[in-house]
Each structure stands twice: as C-alpha cells, then as structure tokens.
C-alpha cells in the first residue's frame, strides 16, 4: 500500500528553461507522481529558483528508474540524515523531544537506510532496536528506561496512502458521513470485501481478518442473530466489546430479554431488570464465558458463536460496568494492550454502535486498514472520519438494520 518516495531538489534557472516542467513531465510519463513542496521562484531573471520535489512510485525499482531519468536534468536527491535517537529516561517516560506518530505508514532512516516502522498507530512513540536496524511503535506506558526512542523531525518520513486498487466505496477515501446517502451499495461493497477476506482466510492467507467492535445496542436493537450468523459463517475473526454486549447477549440466551425487555415481544417483563445481573452472576460462578459455552450453559448467540469459531474476543471494562463478567479486563491500559495485540492481520474493521469502543479501536488502527463506522448518532462516524485521510466509511444507521442487511447480503436467510 505504501509508496516508495524520495525528495529531490532542483536549483538554478529552472522556470524559463522549462527544466522544472521537463522533470515533472518525466516523473508523470514514467508512471510516478510528485508533490512540489517549497518552490521559490527568483524575483528577477537573474535570481535562481529553487524547488523541492517529493517523487513517488509504486515500487522502489520504478522510483530508482525515475530518479535516474531526472538526475541529468539537475534533480539531485536531497542530502538526508539518520533519525535522532535518545534513551528513555525512565520506565513509562519518553525523552522530552520524542516524535509523536500519526496513523499513516512511516519510515525512519537508520544507518543510511529507510526502515518501515512496524505496527503503525497514532499518538505513540517509535522505538528502535539495540542493533539500530528495526523500528516499531511503542505506547508511552510501555516504554522502558534506556529504550532508544526517535526524537526530533530529522530522518522521519510519513508516506501518504495509495488509492486502493479495488474500485469500491473505500477507494474514494473521502470519509463522508451523511444520513442522506443511500446505504445499499455501501453495504454491498463491504459484503464483497468480507467475502473475499473469508475466502483468503480459508485459503490460509495472512492479513485477512475482519474486526468488529460493537456496543450493546446491537443486542437491544435486535442485531444479535445477524451478528451471531456472521461469526458462525466465518466472516468475523476478532471482536472488541465491553461487559454489556456480552452480558446482554447471554441474558438473551438465558432469559429471552435484553436489559429486561422481552426481545420477541418488545415489552418489559416482571423483574426483567435483574436478568443481566443474574446472567453475570451465573457466568462468574462458572468462571469464564468459554467454560459456560463449552459446558452447554450458553449454546446460542454471539458469545457462543465466538467460542465455537475461535474468534479472538477482547472485553474491555468501563467505569459503569455491573459485575463485571470474569473475562472483562478492568485495567484500561491492559485492555488497550490486549486490543493492540489482536490487531495484526486485521484488514477490515467494522465499528458498530459504540462511541467508546469505536474511538478506542480507531485510535489503534493504522490508516491502511479500511474502516466502517456505523452509528445512529452522526457525531461518532464524524469523529472517526476527522482523524484524517484513512479509508473510512461512515454510515448513520441503526446497528440491527446494518448487521441484518450485511448478513443478508452475505447469504443469511432470515
């Protein structure tokens, strides 16, 4: 996805001689692209002009060919320096001048070579290994005293995203959010991606996981069957949620209610408000959700499907949780780390009906992962889309309608 790029400079009488035009034409004709940064045009004919050009190509080889072709016209590769490294002064503390990441693909220059930063994530730091040959992101809390941390701005480059090859809703990269846009074709495009990813996954291809982060509104609104079907059919491989989604899902199985409302009749039932507490208490007694499924206490719904299909589930706790369920990680830093650890290989993220989990997940994802954010409140998809140029699609719609339409598009008969 990331492009190869190099910055070149042109200096002299490059405007009237059409040298700049020739260099730019050459880049385009050879299949590259460019960004003209820092152009200074001489105020008089006598004064020279200066241009800095970022040359980009789809491969390192094409980039080298382009650089070779423009070099005779005076385009020299800018002199570059390695990134600066400073040791972390204490555990959990970056050096003062640490480089704060974006979620875009990033490279750092180590020993005169550009090295890709692994596990890209926004708002963290970059740690370089002892040998000075590899770099990866590190959250503030995880840094250890003496770790080599990238500081300053030298020797760091952030690469823009290449437009995806697939011609679907993600390829527009416009991150528009509107309740007035038709949803049908967007959901069809998402389904097409999910079918491809499932086929890839069944063929053993790396990096073909689908992540769903969701809130309990999925259960309340009636999206439980559709989501359970999607999991059972192998379309979802990682689930991020909180105590509530799991609790209400299992409440629905044990009592037929969600937060005390009979799901089939849509009415509050006597003492229904106790159901989710009784559910949580039951599971705490058994010891874990997995055990509850394996022992036949919970046989239907989302959590049962996850256990059956080996879906990786991260339950992150929050301040208003009841119980919580025994699987819930109540230390939010530990929960963040567990979510981060589940991200490698994710190629599509569905963030459904949860501000908390959607924003948390969005913050951890690199910009290269296409993301769908679904919420009845336009503020949530807008907040995620505002994070920048990532391939985000916002849908203002009800969680159950979304999951139902998506599942039907993928063959669910209900």
């Amino acid at each position: 996805m990331a492009l190869a790029q190099e910055t070149v400079v042109l200096h002299g009488h490059i405007i009237d001689s059409l040298i700049l035009a020739k260099v730019l034409d050459t880049i385009l004709m050879m299949g590259g692209t460019f960004d003209l940064t820092d152009v200074k045009i001489g105020a008089t004919r006598k004064e020279p002009s200066h241009a800095k050009i970022i040359v980009r190509a789809s491969s390192g080889r094409l980039l080298a060919e382009i650089l070779e072709a423009i070099q005779p016209h005076g385009a020299s590769v800018e002199r570059e320096s390695d990134c600066t490294l400073e040791p972390a002064p204490a555990d959990g503390l970056f050096p003062e001048n640490f480089y704060a990441t974006t979620h875009l693909p990033t490279q750092v220059r180590l020993k005169s070579r550009w090295v890709e930063v692994e596990a890209m994530e926004m708002d963290v730091g970059i740690r370089v290994d002892r040998e000075g040959t590899a770099a990866s992101t590190v959250p503030m809390g995880a840094v250890r005293r003496g770790d080599l941390i990238v500081t300053g701005r030298e020797g760091i480059r952030v690469l823009p995203l290449e437009r995806p090859k697939e011609r679907d809703v993600f390829s527009f990269m416009e991150a528009q959010v509107s309740s007035e846009r038709p949803h049908g074709h967007i959901i069809a495009d998402i389904a097409r991606r999910m079918r491809t990813l499932r086929d890839d996954r069944e063929a053993g291809k790396e990096g073909s996981k689908v992540l769903l982060a969701g809130g309990p509104a999925i259960i309340h609104a009636g999206g439980r069957e559709a989501l359970a079907w999607l999991i059972d059919s192998g379309f979802i491989h990682v689930l991020f949620c909180g105590n509530a989604l799991a609790a209400h899902d299992m409440e629905a199985h044990l009592f037929g209610t969600s937060l005390g409302f009979r799901l089939s009749a849509g009415r509050a039932v006597p003492h229904g408000h106790e159901h989710h507490l009784r559910t949580i208490n039951r599971i705490r007694g058994i010891g874990s959700i997995e055990k509850a499924v394996r022992t036949g206490v919970i046989t239907g719904g989302i959590m049962a499907a996850c256990v059956r299909r080996g879906v990786r589930v991260v339950l992150a706790g929050s301040i208003r949780d009841d119980g919580p369920l025994p699987d819930v990680i109540t230390d939010s830093t530990a929960a963040q780390a567990a979510m981060r650890a589940a991200l490698p290989g994710v190629s599509l993220a569905l963030l459904v009906a949860s501000t908390l989990h959607s924003v948390a997940t969005g913050n951890l994802l690199p910009a290269t992962v296409p993301t769908v954010c679904v919420d009845v409140n336009p503020a949530v998809p807008t907040k995620l889309a505002d994070r920048g140029s990532f391939q985000a699609v916002g849908l203002v719609m009800d969680a159950a309608s979304f999951l139902g339409e998506l599942a039907r598009e993928l063959g669910w008969k209900a």
């Binding site: 002299g12 009488h13 009237d16 001689s17 040298i19 035009a21 020279p48 005076g74 020299s76």
Partner: protein, 269 residues
C-alpha cells in the same frame, strides 16, 4: 562575451586524432598536418587582417592534440575566468594549462568543484537578453547554477540531444545584432521552446541540416563579420540578407575532430 575583439588561440602544432570522444573522430581518419596548419593560419589571417581582431596565442603542448580548440579553455567575462572541467579524461589534462594561462594573464580565476563538468565557451553562449548553457552531452546542468552565481547572470540550460552536436557552439551561434543562428533538432523540445520564448521568430536564423552537419553554426561573429566553414551557401544567404559579411573558409581538417572556426577561438572580452 558581448563582443569578440580579443580572441585566445592555440596553434595546431600537435593537432592529431589520438582518441575518439565524439562521433566525428575516427583514429583511421588521420589529420594531414600541413593542411591543418595552412587552414589554421588562413583563419588567423582573416581574423587579424580582414576583421581586425587582436589574437592572444598560447603555447601548444605536446601530447594534448585538442588544445587547439581554445573555446573549451573556459569562459571569460571581464577580468574573471572560470576554467573548464572536462568530462573526458583525454581532455582533462588540458585543464591545468588553460588555468595557468588565465592566471599568468591577470585573470581572477574561479574554479568549479571537481567532477562538476563544464566545457567552457563551447557550452556557454550569451545573447544580449540571456545566456544559454548546453548540457547532457558534456557539461553538467548543475554547473550553470554555480556559474550564474559567479557571474550574476541568468543562464538558461538547454538539453543537447544529438551526439553529433555535443557542444552548444556546434549548433547555436549568437550574432552581434541579437540574432541567433541555430539548428533546432539538436535540442529537445523544452529547450526549443525556451529558446523561442527568449529569441523572437524574426531573430532566429535556422540552419538546414546539411549545413548544420558542416558546422555552419560553429561560426565566429565579430561586429558584422561572420567567419564560418565553407560549403554553407544557404546560411551565407541568410546572413547576407541580415546585413552580415560572410567569410567562408576551408576548415575540414578540424572537422575530423568535430570542430571548426568557433571551436578554434575563445572570446576574451
């Protein structure tokens, strides 16, 4: 570079074909020394007697056959000289002799960094409105950014695309009245457009291919006199139509090396 009343020249005592560094040179096509000497003296006679040029003669050096082409010694503006940095090792040995000549004759010598190829007045020529620098074949385009700093002048780099016209002065000759004698196919389309932008159509004199290949553009223009190789009747017709007096001369011995009238001289002021 504005006028050409004083010219640096070097007698062809050691002029021969000892290597091949352009498509004109063939080791098998030997120079006839007597003819070369006669042709060179013929050129000097016209320059001195007919045109009234003052000639500065530098001492030829054994083993440096191309020193006769003083246009490539460097470039001189006023009392400031920048000696050449030749691309080919065969001619790099001339550099120190040219530099020494500039120094002993009181010029302020500015040198370019090693490896920044620049072949003197062979590649840098001025019109009243702008200077033009040929690049790609011999001189490096980067040299012009530096030269423009040294001389405080705009230099428009133009790409030379035909190896038969390896120096700018083989296909581009500014005339004293502001006209330009040139052969457009020797340049790429960007250079042609840049030249057309600075030299109006009425001032551009296009040389036909057959005469360009005889080096009609390798001419010396002083006031209304133009000295050029013989066999270029179309060019002469065009020059005369613009009020110039043409002096066609036999210089074919020097064409064996890829040079003619202009290559044999360097304007000193």
């Amino acid at each position: 570079m504005e006028g050409m009343s004083r010219l640096l020249v070097c007698a062809p005592d050691y002029f021969r074909i000892e290597y091949e560094i352009n498509p004109w040179m063939r080791l098998s096509n030997a120079v006839v020394p007597d003819r070369a000497r006669a042709q060179w003296h013929g050129l000097m006679k016209v320059l001195e007697d007919d045109i009234g040029v003052l000639l500065e003669r530098m001492e030829p050096v054994p083993g440096l056959p191309d020193m006769v082409f003083t246009a490539n010694a460097g470039v001189v503006v006023g009392r400031r000289a920048v000696p050449s940095r030749f691309r080919h090792p065969e001619r790099q040995r001339e550099e120190s002799f040219f530099e020494a000549w500039f120094r002993t004759h009181g010029y302020e010598v500015m040198t370019l960094e090693q490896g920044l190829y620049f072949e003197g007045a062979g590649d840098l020529l001025g019109l009243p409105d702008a200077w033009f620098g040929g690049y790609r074949q011999r001189s490096d385009i980067r040299a012009y950014a530096r030269l423009s700093e040294i001389f405080g002048r705009e230099i428009i780099p133009v790409e030379l695309v035909n190896s038969h016209f390896y120096h700018l002065d083989t296909c581009f000759c500014p005339l004293s009245g502001g006209e330009l004698l040139y052969y457009p196919p020797a340049f790429d389309r960007y250079a042609r457009a840049a030249i057309a932008e600075r030299v109006g159509e009425a001032r551009r004199v296009v040389v036909p291919e057959s005469e360009a290949l005889r080096f009609a553009c390798n001419a010396v223009c002083v006031a209304k006199h133009v000295v050029l190789p013989e066999g270029c009747p179309e060019t002469i017709k065009q020059l005369e139509a613009r009020g110039y007096e043409a002096h066609p001369l036999p210089l074919d011995e020097f064409m064996k090396s890829g040079g003619s009238a202009k290559c044999l001289t360097l304007a000193l002021e």
